[in-house]
């Protein structure tokens, strides 16, 4: 039975899938809760920097749950981690540098 599961997961038998399914349900519940939380917090209309920070933290947790458990990133191979690390680095550069350049001010008005 196990030998014809020549798939990407290194040691997946039907038993492991059951464990995975339990994780999926847990993550689903967590995601629902966090969605309610993020909407509820937004109702307080905190000042923008605070609101952004909280929203980003919640979104990052939710996103990490989806990535780690639904996308199985938590048990992926090193190569995939390497590609994603590189991508995240450049993503951060893309997000930060233009606005930093803007904030550094312009000597031409």
């Amino acid at each position: 039975m196990a030998s014809d599961h020549a798939t990407d997961m290194t040691s997946d038998h039907a038993v492991d899938i059951d464990k995975h399914v339990r994780v999926y349900i847990t993550v689903f519940v967590a995601l629902m809760v966090l969605t309610i939380v993020t909407v509820a917090v937004s109702r307080y209309h905190f000042p923008v920097p605070v609101a952004v920070t909280v929203a980003l933290i919640v979104a990052t947790i939710k996103g990490s749950l989806v990535a780690c458990y639904f996308m199985h990133l938590i048990s992926e191979k090193k190569l995939i981690y390497a590609v994603l690390a590189l991508t995240v680095a450049f993503f951060a550069v893309l997000l930060a540098l233009p606005v930093l350049t803007y904030s550094d001010g312009y000597w031409i008005r």
Partner: protein, 586 residues
């Protein structure tokens, strides 16, 4: 040209008896074989290079003789563009924008990456094909559609894009219909590159032969591998920017339109509030890594040819590989050196200046290693080697002249002058294009089973080498005198430019003569298909795996899956029977 003779999959020697013979369309047009696709890319690239060159030759008439009617051809281009045979400024701008766009995105990249990468890479790593053959085919046809769109844009009312290959906003937003076509064309081209990039990366990692570790890769493979990452991660922001510019043009948004813009005395009705520099950030985020996409495959080709024709291993292979990877990484954090003149503050200018200076180091390491590789070699000066060796000083000039541009203070007088044009043309024209020519002469026997003619090759080389320098060297002079690029009258309206204006004529005659010297190449390319000297598997006595396949290779490439037993450049090994020990020989 008959595709049947070039790289035509011979009746396959592999073991699958159930594989049915494909019809003409599936075999030569909608093929999933990387060799056919590679040739499709290469031929498309070469045709666009020629077309882009023709656009420039038209411009060079205007630059040499501003306002003078162009004999013969001038009348053919219609009153809308060249009334009485004299070029309108709008048409000059069209030619300029499309020359740049076509050369970069439809000429060099399809040839260097799509052509050489597709044809050579699987063979060089001992693979039967790319990891995703169908996606490979789709990527070519996306390029084709992009090319058709770009060509078609010449025929829309108002003509093709006219806002430079850089399509800076807000000018590009208010420009005519051709710009919309440019944006759509770019989306096709970007899609093609993205699909190709993920194919190359997956193939290189997964389909390499047994024993072919990364540090045993030919440098060409490393170059294509890093290039693929640049394409994969740098192109999407331009795609996003293209969508936003389309929205600005078609849906009336103001992503790139500042408030209070007045065009021809009329205030624009757009909401405004946009950031016009946002376009530049997103454009250059791609376009800087893009210039490394333009050069890296060329470096890879030159490395292969130098090792082969010096009968010596490459000097400093490891340093070259580390430099290549470091260069690829750094290329993502230097882009705003194209934006020094946007008035950015000193902190960010210092940051980008610093990263730009740092990125010159790996380039120098690679170039130096290649030069040192010549030392003590038994050099064979065949045509590929001539082009490959000429690449070295030409790229040297191009690279070194880039340094002042990367320093924000020095960039102030040089930005957007002919100095910049000279700098980047040295790197791409006698740089990359020479490397690509070298590659064509080198791998032509593998693709066709025949050599190209050496005499014609040498005429092509020497003529091109001299003419390239005649065209571009004077531009440093004009640029240092302060003459801006993209000027319809070449700068003749400015008094300060007068002492250098005669150089325009020199460059133009250099360009037209350069065109003449391509004729032996074009003739040779087609003539040799039928009449070239036939060759076996390894006419250059080379060491890398592609030379173990038949010339041309059949569908599936290898009769038995090859294996790598050693490094890629075991030339002149002491004690060996011949002056090379192939990587694939047990």
């Amino acid at each position: 040209m008959s595709e049947q003779a070039i790289g035509a999959p011979k009746p396959h020697v592999t073991h699958e008896a159930h594989h049915e013979e494909l019809g003409f369309w599936r075999k030569y047009v909608f093929s999933t074989d990387h060799k056919v696709i590679g040739i499709q890319y290469a031929v498309t690239g070469l045709l666009f290079l020629l077309f882009g060159f023709c656009l420039m030759m038209l411009m060079r008439w205007q630059l040499a003789y501003p306002g003078v009617p162009l004999p013969l051809i001038g009348g053919l281009l219609g009153e809308a563009r060249m009334p009485g045979g004299t070029m309108l400024p709008e048409f000059y701008n069209e030619l300029g924008a499309m020359h740049g766009t076509i050369m970069v995105f439809l000429g060099v990249v399809p040839l260097a990456v799509g052509g050489f990468g597709n044809f050579v890479l699987p063979l060089q790593i001992g693979a039967p094909d790319m990891a995703f053959p169908k996606i490979n085919m789709v990527s070519y046809w996306c390029l084709f559609l992009g090319g058709i769109t770009m060509l078609g844009s010449f025929f829309v009312p108002g003509g093709a894009a006219q806002s430079g290959w850089t399509s800076y906003t807000p000018l590009a937003v208010i420009a005519g219909t051709g710009q919309t076509w440019w944006l759509i064309g770019m989306i096709f081209l970007i899609t093609s590159s993205l699909l190709g990039a993920l194919n190359f990366i997956t193939t290189t990692i997964q389909l390499r032969a047994k024993g072919l570790t990364f540090m045993r890769f030919p440098f060409f493979c490393w170059a294509q591998f890093v290039t693929a990452f640049l394409l994969l991660l740098a192109f999407p922001p331009l795609e996003a920017a293209g969508v936003m510019q389309l929205m600005d043009r078609v849906a009336g948004t103001s992503f790139f339109l500042p408030s209070g813009l007045v065009v021809s005395g009329q205030p624009l009705t757009n909401a405004g509030g946009g950031n016009t520099l946002l376009w530049q950030h997103l454009f250059w985020f791609l376009a800087h890594p893009e210039v490394y996409v333009l050069i890296l495959p060329g470096m890879g080709i030159v490395a292969e040819i130098i090792a082969n024709n010096t009968r010596k291993p490459l000097w400093g292979y490891r340093s070259m590989v580390y430099s290549l990877v470091f260069l690829g990484f750094m290329s993502f954090i230097v882009w705003a050196h194209h934006m020094f003149m946007t008035g950015m503050g000193t902190a960010m200018a210092a940051f980008f200046q610093t990263t730009t200076m740092i990125i010159s180091i790996p380039s120098v390491v690679i170039l130096t290693a290649l030069i040192i590789s010549l030392w003590g070699g038994s050099i064979r000066f065949n045509t590929p080697m001539l082009f490959a060796v000429a690449f070295l000083p030409m790229f040297g000039i191009g690279g070194l002249t880039g340094l002042p541009l990367g320093l924000n203070i020095a960039d102030i007088p040089l930005h957007d002058t002919y100095y910049v044009i000279a700098h980047f043309h040295y790197v791409v024209a006698p740089g990359t294009i020479f490397a690509l020519m070298a590659g064509i002469y080198y791998w032509y026997p593998k693709a066709t089973g025949r050599r190209m003619n050496e005499t014609l090759g040498k005429i092509h080389f020497w003529g091109s080498f001299v003419c390239m320098n005649v065209v571009f060297m004077p531009m440093f002079i004009i640029g240092l005198a302060g003459v801006s690029r993209r000027l319809f009258d070449a700068g003749t309206a400015y008094t300060f430019a007068q002492p250098t204006m005669h150089w325009n004529e020199v460059s133009s005659w250099g360009a037209w003569t350069l065109a003449l010297f391509q004729l032996p190449f074009i003739f040779n390319f087609f003539w040799s298909i039928r009449k070239g000297e036939t060759v076996g598997e390894n006419p250059w006595q080379a060491t890398t795996i592609e030379w173990s396949a038949p010339s041309p290779p059949p569908h599936g490439n290898f009769v038995h899956a090859p294996q790598a037993y050693r490094g890629p450049y075991e030339y002149s090994v002491p004690g060996a029977g011949k002056d090379f020990v192939p990587q694939y020989e047990a």
